[in-house]
């Protein structure tokens, strides 16, 4: 009968927590925090300490499963930023620092807690407000606040959000990314040194023309949409046209801009190039060719559009 000892094991921390007064718990926590630069590694017992019914301190508890066997990619993604924020919190003067704790509960260390809270997913971030003392919330709320990951896993917004519960805002500064600046400087240097080589290209209008036309082509075929919405390049089961009028995949950008480009160049050919053709027959050939291209591509474009917008009544060839 393995249940009994397990129960005993589980019940142990409770009685422990109950017995311990808030002050002692606080002392312990301060020590724990100090030990591991501001971040408490939780197990079941220390969890109960941290969420002491008479606590005068607030805490943000990060539930995660970092063990590779758990295969929790977001956990790994979020953990560093949380640690960074916790670290930055340890810089504030002790008087404030000890009124808010950062703690990480890994599934493999604090299974009991996970079961008790009935947690299915990780990472989860709980913020416990003080139950006693001056910082007790007006609503008298004791249940933890669940941090909303809608702003992503970055440390910046995290610190910003948590600062609403800490006595003083968390002095988090994003670490300066030296590599980025370095590369930037390097590139500029290289560019400046070799500017003489580039100069003719910079000077030539057609280089600019191609650049600008390509930009506007890409923009007008919904590149920004894909980028902002983070649309996949192509949908599941390999379909590359996203259903729906206000929706598209990355691949559509390429196709549509290609079609646009082809049509535009068709017009340009007819306007600029063909007239210079001094041989009547070749010229006629070109004219028919390009007109045909324009017509066909245009009808292709229309049919594409009909796929997106079902109710569109018009069609050309196909």
């Amino acid at each position: 009968m393995l249940l009994l000892p397990l129960l005993a094991l589980l019940s142990l921390p409770f009685c422990l927590a109950a017995s311990i007064s808030a002050e002692d718990a606080h002392q312990k926590l301060v020590k724990l925090a100090a030990a591991n630069n501001g971040l408490i590694k939780l197990d079941d017992s220390s969890y109960n300490l941290l969420t002491h019914p008479k606590r005068t301190w607030s805490s943000s508890i990060h539930f995660t499963a970092l063990d590779p066997r758990r295969r929790c990619a977001p956990c790994k993604e979020f953990d560093p930023s949380f640690t960074a924020v916790a670290k930055s919190w340890s810089q504030v003067p002790a008087s404030e620092r000890d009124t808010h704790f950062f703690a990480t509960a890994d599934f493999d260390n604090a299974m009991g807690t996970f079961q008790k809270l009935g947690m299915q997913t990780a990472p989860v971030l709980h913020v416990h407000l003080p139950a006693e003392g001056s910082r007790r919330p007006a609503s008298g709320r004791t249940a933890p606040i669940v941090y909303d990951f809608s702003n992503g896993f970055d440390a910046g917004p995290l610190a910003e959000q948590l600062s609403q519960y800490t006595p003083v805002p968390i002095p988090y500064k994003a670490p300066i990314d030296w590599s980025k600046y370095g590369t930037a400087a390097g590139v500029t240097l290289i560019f400046l040194s070799t500017v003489r080589l580039f100069l003719p290209i910079l000077r030539s209008r057609w280089a600019w023309a191609i650049g600008i036309v390509l930009t506007s082509l890409v923009m007008t075929s919904g590149f920004m949409f894909v980028r902002i919405r983070g649309m996949p390049n192509s949908g599941a089961n390999g379909q590359w046209i996203a259903p729906g009028y206000q929706n598209q995949f990355g691949q559509e950008v390429q196709v549509v801009s290609f079609v646009y480009g082809l049509l535009a160049s068709g017009f340009l050919m007819l306007t600029l190039v063909t007239p210079y053709q001094t041989n009547p027959y070749r010229q006629r050939l070109q004219v028919y060719l390009w007109s045909g291209v324009i017509f066909v591509m245009f009808s292709v474009l229309i049919s594409l559009f009909r796929v997106k917008n079902r109710s569109y009544p018009f069609k050309l060839l196909l």
């Binding site: 407000l129 919330p137 609503s139 709320r141 606040i145 669940v146 909303d148 702003n151 917004p157 959000q161 609403q164 519960y165 209008r205 057609w206 600019w208 023309a209 600008i212 036309v213 930009t215 506007s216 923009m219 007008t220 919904g222 920004m224 949409f225 902002i228 919405r229 009028y245 206000q246 929706n247 598209q248 646009y260 480009g261 535009a264 160049s265 017009f267 340009l268 007819l270 306007t271 600029l272 190039v273 063909t274 007239p275 210079y276 053709q277 001094t278 041989n279 009547p280 070749r282 010229q283 006629r284 070109q286 004219v287 028919y288 007109s291 245009f298 474009l301 109710s311 018009f314 050309l316």
Partner: protein
């Protein structure tokens, strides 16, 4: 000289000139007619009514202006908006639109034409679209020639991208802004070409008008400096540029500071710094030019050059310093969100929540511009071909606008004009090439030179202006040899800017011409069909009135909004405060004429969040909030009965989100989803959802409507629980015919001092519950 077809030769130039100018006038008149007519679908299908949301406020303000005069309007403090804060209207709007229609109104009445102010407001946008067509014509004329201008005018006249914001009844700033935009640009180009202070000043004046009319004036404020800067970098500095820019900037800035809403921004915010910087740069460069003209020593000149750069760098640093010190405000959120596209969603959810601030997918580009969208790159290339100063402008405009249009749907509006211009340039040069009857000789003999002597290009009004350009080409051609003939060399010849093209140019045969022209005309025809279809189907419904089809196919009008607003207006006290989500604030103020808590000018996030909180928290929490803001009625939109998808339950998550931004520990978005993370309204709905005021008000007694049968929400397509929610703190006051608008009255406190929940349960004859004390404690919160 072979001709593909013969032209009447016995016409005097004068006749040709007069005829063509007459034709131009007629064409412009017809285009204006088409532009106006195509915007009247809304009036024909429905009625002469103000559309959507913001226009209702503009309309209301205009009525104040027309009835009480300009000064009353200027000092208007609106007590009924943002109750109890109120709103200083005069100082927080762009008065250009109202002023315009106010002037029109007074002029007409002075002429004994007592036109109703509403009709003026409704028809303002179509009227100005005609002007837009005209100004586009002028603008494009500067780019190429009249024929291109006419095409451009026709394009912008009916392009859905512009119609979408200017149908009759959409009485919004954009209605006049696009005309001002195009005309300011035209004046700028003109000023740049002629270097005349007159046009510079005109640019400034219309810039001022634009500033007074639309927040988007910042686009001009940055386009013109960008153009000037590019010209300088291209080494195209000229006294013309100097005159034009200086006169524009000096007068324009001073004028723009007269608009109260703008005030000192032109010297205090980053959006305007580019203009200032370029202004300074121009002065320096001009000074340098001047000095260089008088001093010869190379040495000194190099020093000068260095010093210019030095000053420039200093200026940049000074700007940076000022910004850091806070003397210059950094980019405001709305503008910043154009660059950092993730910014809005994170920090200003209210902006992100507006549908027209979403990025644009390619179908809507095609929907709005159809075949112009792929003519547009061709036009840009043509601009590159002969790279005059004004072409540089179009090129910059093209790339900038296409980026903006990609980021925000509503900025499609600024893209449309340049697309029309560029497409018109491309299209008309195609037509020029293929309508021109002159055929080149197979070999390039010297006869072409003689033909080329004809100074066709002199009078721009000359009939088929194609012949002008071609004969020019021919002249170039005669100068050089016509040896190689192949695609590659053709491309080369085409690419070589139209100064030095070295080959004879022209089209052989009639059939080729016919093929191309037929193809082109076919496209134009298709474009017209497309525009008509899009305008009539997509852009012409005043979201105030909904149309549906009767079984017999006849149109059935669903008029619930006005029904409910009018009920409020007629049967509630004049000062009854109505709470609703901010979308409907302007409409309630305009139609129901009652004070509102929040409305569509979303200047106070906290206030909106308060409403969001009240809507998304349970009754007993919401009640104190309602009472504190002495709310009498709560108005919500519910589409579940007839499947109107734009209702409040669908907007609910935004309310939650915005409330969460201010009260993160009380409102949390995840609580409104089910455990599986679904957004449901049926039995499995999350408890927070079920208890929220919004949910209760939406589905109050909804299930009973179906008798015993299962009640289905037609929008969410889910079954609503049989036993609907009960309300203790509110009373159903009115529900419109199709249940779209539901109005609830907030109960006053119970006379016996019980909290209303117990009072209710007592009235329903229930025994006192154990929960009574608990309920009382809640009510005190």
């Amino acid at each position: 000289m072979p001709l593909a077809y013969t032209l009447p030769s016995n016409l005097s130039p004068a006749t040709v000139a007069n005829t063509s100018s007459l034709l131009r006038i007629v064409a412009l008149a017809l285009i204006s007619g088409a532009a106006i007519a195509s915007r009247l679908f809304a009036v024909v299908n429905f009625e002469s009514i103000i559309h959507e949301f913001d226009p209702w406020f503009n309309y209301r303000a205009t009525r104040v202006l027309a009835e009480k005069g300009f000064y009353a309007f200027w000092n208007w403090f609106d007590h009924t908006a943002w109750y109890p804060l109120g709103r200083v209207v005069g100082g927080t709007i762009y008065p250009g639109l109202m002023a315009t229609s106010g002037v029109i109104y007074n002029v007409l009445h002075a002429l004994n034409l007592p036109v109703d102010i509403r009709n003026i407001c409704v028809l303002l946008a179509p009227g100005f679209s005609a002007l837009t067509a005209w100004s586009t014509y002028m603008f494009t004329k500067e780019m190429k020639d009249e024929s291109a201008g006419l095409l451009a005018a026709a394009f912008i006249g009916i392009a859905p991208g512009y119609i979408s914001r200017s149908v009759a009844g959409s009485y919004d700033n954009e209605a006049i802004a696009i005309f001002l935009l195009m005309f300011t640009f035209y004046c700028w180009i003109k000023a740049l070409k002629t270097g005349s202070v007159l046009f510079g000043t005109l640019t400034a004046l219309f810039y001022f008008y634009m500033v007074a009319a639309w927040g988007g004036y910042a686009f001009i404020t940055n386009m013109i400096p960008l153009h000037a800067l590019t010209l300088i970098l291209m080494g195209r500095f000229s006294s013309r540029l100097y005159t034009a820019y200086s006169s524009w900037y000096a007068i324009g800035t001073l004028a723009s500071m007269q608009v109260p809403f703008v005030g000192f921004q032109p010297v205090r915010t980053s959006e305007h710094m580019a203009a200032l910087g370029v202004f300074g740069l121009l002065q320096i460069v001009a000074f340098a030019e001047l000095v260089r003209a008088h001093v010869s020593s190379r040495h000194f000149q190099s020093i000068l050059f260095g010093s210019v750069i030095g000053i420039g760098v200093l200026g940049v640093f000074a700007f940076a310093g000022l910004t850091y010190k806070g003397w210059i405000a950094p980019w405001t959120g709305r503008f910043y969100s154009l660059w950092d596209t993730g910014y809005a969603k994170k920090y200003i959810p209210i902006i992100a929540s507006v549908s027209e601030h979403q990025p644009t997918a390619w179908p809507s580009f095609f929907m709005d511009l159809q075949f112009l969208i792929f003519l547009f790159p061709a036009g840009v290339i043509l601009c590159f071909r002969e790279l005059r100063d004004e072409h540089v402008f179009v090129i910059i405009y093209a790339v900038v606008a296409s980026y903006f249009a990609g980021v925000m749907v509503r900025l499609m509006l600024t893209l449309t004009p340049v697309v029309c211009v560029a497409a018109a340039v491309a299209f008309s040069s195609l037509l020029d090439t293929y309508i021109d009857p002159v055929e080149p000789d197979v070999l390039a003999p010297s006869t072409q030179a003689t033909e080329a002597e004809v100074p066709a290009g002199d009078s721009p009004a000359n009939a088929p202006s194609g012949s002008a350009t071609t004969s020019k080409k021919a002249k170039k051609a005669a100068a050089a040899d016509a040896s190689s003939s192949g695609l590659a060399s053709g491309v080369l010849a085409a690419m070589s800017p139209s100064g030095k093209s070295a080959k004879p140019r022209g089209i052989f045969g009639l059939d080729t011409r016919i093929v191309v022209i037929a193809n082109a005309l076919g496209m134009l025809l298709f474009f017209v069909l497309h525009c008509t279809y899009v305008t009539s189907s997509a852009y012409s419904s005043p979201s105030v009135v909904l149309a549906s089809q009767n079984p017999d196919g006849s149109q059935h009008i669903i008029d619930d909004f006005r029904e409910a607003y009018y009920w409020l207006r007629q049967n509630t006290p004049q000062d009854a405060v109505v709470m609703s989500w901010w979308d409907y604030g302007y409409q309630i103020a305009g139609m129901a004429d009652r004070p509102t808590l929040v409305d569509n000018n979303t200047w106070n996030n906290t206030h909106i969040a308060t409403v969001g909180k009240a809507m998304s928290s349970p009754e007993e929490v919401a009640y104190p909030i309602l009472r504190k803001h002495d709310v009498d009625y709560v108005l919500i939109i519910f589409g579940g009965l007839i499947g109107y998808s734009g209702d409040d339950i669908n907007k609910f998550l935004w309310m939650v989100r915005i409330a969460q931004g201010v009260w993160p520990e009380e409102i949390q978005e995840p609580n409104y989803f089910t455990a599986k993370g679904e957004y449901r309204v049926d039995d499995q709905a999350a408890p927070a959802m079920k208890n929220s005021l919004m949910y209760k008000m939406s589905y109050y007694r909804f299930a009973e409507l179906y008798g015993g049968n299962s009640a289905v929400d037609r929008v969410r397509g889910q079954q609503v629980p049989k036993t609907g929610p009960t309300l203790d703190y509110l009373d159903e006051a009115f529900t419109s015919e199709n249940w779209i608008v539901r109005i609830y009255q907030v109960k006053k406190e119970d006379l016996l001092g019980r909290d209303l929940k117990t009072a209710n349960s007592f009235d329903q004859g229930k025994k006192r519950k154990k929960s009574k004390p608990l309920a009382r404690r809640k009510a005190v919160v």
